[in-house]
Symmetry: C2
Subunit: 711 residues, 2 copies
């Protein structure tokens, strides 16, 4: 036989671990429960030998026990014994009524949803106790225990108590009924309306688990640009089916309500909130909703904003509209979340509009109305100052609306960790006696009703959020919703440990990368307080030159006002005086460029290109330096991620690396296009040593993206 079998190359290629072997695709999110190593695993085995439910059984306790079994099986390699016997190494789920003697705990402080995790000696046995006043607290406590196990905490020293500071911790899905997700970059809407209510995708349960693990307890199913169809009987039945899946996980369902529904669905001639027939229609509709969903949360409303119908169509105000709905929902315990994202067409400074319309209404809203306010006064930019309404409406509960989906932050392609952005807002001192967090959690102004909402980044993509790292933004939102004072670094570290690796060096390297990423995107898109420079419609890529849109306050040029003389929007007393909407201490700081932090400078001031920055550079040179710093940071992120290859499973490592390569290219594109444009309007040469943009301004202006996602 003369055949030579050429195996060498093939064997080398195939010597790697089989590529089909359970590659991680991100579906399991941070609830991966991969086997722990060594001592970490041993301690889980030791402290979760058995599982004891000392509480009434319910679907919620069943969910908790199932999750613990699943987690312990995954982490420790063997399931805990289910028993009623208290023995050494037992993990007990305990409510007050069934607490064994010997367990000393301040049950009151835990409230309805809180939990305590504690090592204890009961009946002579060294056990761990997950304690709560009710079953949902046990569920949250179980997830907290699992998180401690996943992140390698010393389980023998466990002593946590935690109760949420914010009452309503909600996702807002901007999902349409045709399954398109507005500003969604993670596939289609999770809700298969066509097949609901008959078919319940197992994914709905995993959605509920993921949210319960963070303490998220409410979800608005449909887009704030709502269709009235969502309130019709067939769709209420579909929403009820979802509510049934979510209920054991402590999650209530809410719906966005279209203000004109009485006309569209009821055939009425008006939707005037003061019209008795309209009020009656909403009462009947609310009754119908609660027959379908007895624990329905309430309505989220976008009204008189960007073309949505509302009370102003009838010469009424926001309080009139909100209070009508509030009255319909109050007998059922429901709430109205009324969005303050408004901007009048003929106003001089878009940033002032929401305050102008809402602040005067403080105290006029019914008790079950929450006014939902975006984190800043424009629209989810990479950086905005906190919204002036926070602290300025002390008689009204205000919800903070954050955007988890990255509409202006690179969609799901760019790695941008938003924990630092969320933290920056929450920790901002409003000047009214406390931080934004103290306003939002109700403690500053004495509100029991409190809420925080995140515009979800969730879709049908296998990895839920469009990319591996976008999951961390959902996670960070949830952790901060529970406790707005949690540190972003702590959250990132926990997420990395649960999602990627507990090896400290690798974990810390990833955390560093994540924490650097927010400032990177500010730098390469909109440094020094610039904002709203993106291209039209899809909001992807740079468009600082755009000046031809229907409304002046949609144009990037409106927001940067760059010209020969300088750049920036004067919101100081010499300009629009938007600063005056803030507390005096804050307004004072931001009225003067010299006391305005550089990262907000051009938000509040219009300055000449040669303005002297604290760094010593001119404004123009600083701007270019920031753009370059952003690009450099992304390059550094790529290098760090490449070095982490030994620590990360191959499929996710390769995927993130591919995304970072795109981000690096696009960070350069932003930098080049913006510098080219600003140079063209300033007439200034590039600072010495600056790499010129790769293409001409005209080339950047000619780019078109016809089918960008999320429109």
């Amino acid at each position: 036989m003369t055949t030579v079998f050429r195996w060498l190359g093939l064997l080398l290629g195939l010597a790697l671990a089989p590529t089909w072997a359970a590659a991680e695709d991100g579906y399991d999110l941070w609830l991966r429960y991969r086997p722990l190593a060594g001592a970490a695993q041993a301690q889980v085995q030791a402290r979760a030998r058995s599982l004891v439910l000392a509480a009434p059984t319910s679907p919620t306790t069943q969910a908790a026990v199932t999750e613990l079994r699943r987690g312990i099986q995954g982490l420790a390699g063997r399931e805990p014994e289910l028993t009623s016997r208290v023995s050494p190494g037992a993990l007990l789920l305990v409510t007050r009524a069934q607490a064994p003697a010997g367990l000393a705990l301040s049950w009151e402080e835990l409230g309805r949803e809180g939990y305590a995790l504690r090592r204890a000696t009961l009946q002579g046995a060294d056990v761990t106790v997950i304690a709560a006043n009710g079953d949902v607290g046990l569920l949250y406590g179980s997830f907290a225990w699992l998180r401690a196990a996943q992140t390698g905490e010393d389980l023998s020293k466990l002593d946590q108590r935690s109760a949420p500071k914010v009452a309503l911790r909600m996702l807002n899905h901007w999902d349409n009924l045709d399954r398109h997700v507005e500003r969604g970059y993670a596939g289609a809407s999770l809700w298969d309306w066509w097949k609901l209510p008959d078919i319940l995708d197992p994914r709905y349960t995993d959605y509920a688990r993921a949210n319960a693990s963070l303490g998220i307890n409410g979800t608005v199913l449909n887009n704030v640009n709502a269709k009235a169809d969502s309130l019709t009987a067939p769709y209420l039945a579909k929403a009820a089916a979802l509510a049934g899946v979510f209920r054991p996980y402590g999650i209530k369902v809410y719906l966005s309500a279209r203000f004109s529904a009485p006309v569209e669905l009821g055939g009425l001639k008006t939707a005037d909130p003061l019209d008795p027939a309209v009020r009656a229609w909403w009462k009947a509709k609310a009754d119908e909703v609660y027959r379908a969903i007895p624990d329905f949360g309430g309505f989220l409303v976008k009204a008189n904003s960007e073309g949505q119908p509302g009370p102003q169509d009838y010469g009424r105000n926001h309080a009139d509209g909100a209070n009508m709905l509030a009255e319909a929902l109050a007998p059922h315990g429901g709430v109205v979340l009324w969005r303050a994202f408004v901007y009048a067409a003929d106003a001089s400074d878009r940033a002032k509009q929401a305050y102008a319309e809402f602040q005067p209404l403080d105290g006029r809203f019914a008790p079950n109305v929450i006014v939902q306010v975006k984190n800043g006064p424009i629209d989810f930019q990479p950086r905005e100052p906190f919204h002036p309404l926070f602290g300025a409406m002390p008689k009204t509960p205000l919800a903070l609306e954050l955007q988890i989906t990255k509409e202006y932050l690179g969609f799901s392609t760019h790695l941008v960790h938003l924990g630092p952005l969320f933290e920056e807002v929450l920790q901002a001192d409003t000047g009214h006696g406390g931080t934004v967090a103290r306003v939002v959690d109700g403690s500053l102004e004495g509100h029991k009703l409190s809420a925080i909402a995140g515009v979800a980044n969730i879709g049908t993509d296998r990895n839920w959020s469009g990319s591996q790292f976008d999951q961390a933004n959902w996670y960070a939102f949830g952790r901060l919703a529970w406790d707005p004072d949690t540190k972003a670094g702590r959250i990132a570290r926990d997420w990395v440990a649960q999602t990627f690796t507990t090896r400290p060096a690798a974990r810390d390297a990833i955390v560093d990368m994540m924490l650097a990423s927010r400032e990177a995107v500010v730098d390469y898109m909109t440094p020094l307080g610039l904002h709203h420079l993106m291209d039209t419609g899809h909001h992807y890529g740079p468009g600082p030159w755009v000046n031809n849109l229907e409304r002046a306050d949609w144009n990037p040029t409106y927001f940067h006002k760059a010209g020969r003389d300088g750049i920036g929007f004067d919101r100081s007393p010499t300009g629009s005086n938007a600063v005056a909407q803030y507390a005096p201490s804050v307004a004072r700081l931001w009225s003067d460029p010299r006391t305005t932090p550089p990262e907000l400078l051009l938000w509040f001031h219009h300055l000449p290109w040669d303005y002297a920055m604290p760094s010593g550079r001119t404004l123009w040179a600083e701007l270019v330096a920031r753009y370059d710093r952003g690009v450099a940071t992304v390059d550094d992120m790529r290098r760090r991620w490449a070095a982490l290859e030994p620590d990360i499973d191959p499929q996710r490592h390769a995927e993130v690396a591919a995304y970072l390569a795109v981000q690096a290219r696009e960070a350069r594109w932003w930098r080049d296009a913006c510098i080219a444009y600003f140079q063209s309007v300033s007439g200034l040469p590039l600072p010495a040593g600056t790499r010129p943009p790769e293409q001409s301004l005209a080339a950047y202006q000619a780019l078109r993206f016809g089918f960008a996602p999320g429109r």
Copy 2:
């Protein structure tokens, strides 16, 4: 201690196998490779101890070896040893050039893509040989071997040889660039255009594996209602990236070409196929495409049909248009698939239009043009007679276009196995000397170029096709594309064995259910040759009353012509004489109601309600009986499926059961609405003993589905 721990209910509930344990979700399709039991597993272990590659290494052989390793690992529990040594129990991949002495094989007959599977004694060792002339044949042979192992064939008696009868075996994706899939009921488009070409979803590889396992070797990526953007440089780069993933699996990429692209993209004033500038534009465009994708397959074209641009816009004919594109592609070896789905607006019988426009052009097409013809002359109805063009254009290669996605067959909700439908078409005797299969495979008329296309049912749903059983339609299409004479029952049995169970009783029960399902849907939607009775736009649910559409030949009433006098479309010589487009022997049969099979009766004849059917019943009573039979069949399918619970994994069993419940409800809806309507126009009472429709005709007519998928 007085606490009582109430475990009993909880323990009972939790005693089941953990629900998180690798539940089958259908993602693995028929390539599940679950461990075989007992003797079946032992034989795989015995006959695949080692893997020997006696062929040049290439990405394709690598794909084959990887698949065999994966499959054998899954089926037998251990991976085969990779070696160059021929030893007992080895599985050899062998091409002619490297075939060991002692292997007697008729290599010629295998052609480029065929394979042989044979037990052989080589060098004294009892081995299995997978033999082919080239690497793609080895890949197909590997999948065939795995199928044999999965389906429990006796591997010691293996002696297969198989070469495809049809050259181009293609999927047509009606996918739009915004990821909406026209007539798609399985989620969004698989192709993430936004993230291509940089990000290659691992799912693209699994798509390629699934298709290679069936022998599908071509895929048209974009909707026949094409956007010119698909031919622009950025989109060609994205298509090239997909082509790179598919290439090792023997799959070529094709694109739907918009006929007006020279105007839209090239800025020309015309798209007249005889215009030299237009011809030059297409030549240049073809050159550009082939620079991006050197083995690009060709263009699929929908022209002058349902508003699409085409040569008739310039007073030219289909051959003019097709030949222009053919000339541009010929130097590169590409083909043009030109669709014959046309129907003129002012014609008397829509069923006659395609033949009228295309038959006279026989012999006028360039050699690399294939005319693609739907299976029947209307549009993918539950039953149609075969298309009269088959056999009537002997000088032109005709491709058969089948619809895998169930636009008119219950979307992805109704279980309808299409193998019997496909088989019925392929085995139909054209009367021109052979079956449709002989026309399509080129053997009747001596064409080397041959093609078959399936409008794909694939999307981002985890189970790929919208439901577990819809996968079987993709599978059946692929198996029949390779060998159009395969029996539908054999295909269903293989699919069930690979996808669900090899236990004979259970397997056969599922196969029976599948094989009964096609006639069931005919019965409960459109019995006795009725067609096109669906509701407007979304094509879901009954709408036999609809008569208000823009074109007469879009109205259901046009197709059934039901009135006081009778029902049915007269296509006999006394009517539109569409029968005359068929061969005389066929036309003769279908000209006379007495020799027309009942299942086609109302396709070809308009008959009085009291026409005497062969069964002895009147036509009206037969119609009602058929509707009732359809409903009864679905009820029976539910019972059979319920009885199979012990044999099927819980998640898939429950899912299919839920779908069948919906189908049962909707079969009744179809039956009730159609009977109510036909009764209203006939004026006749229901046959004695008939269950009356549950609701009034007006209630059925009032149903609206605003957000049905697939529009």
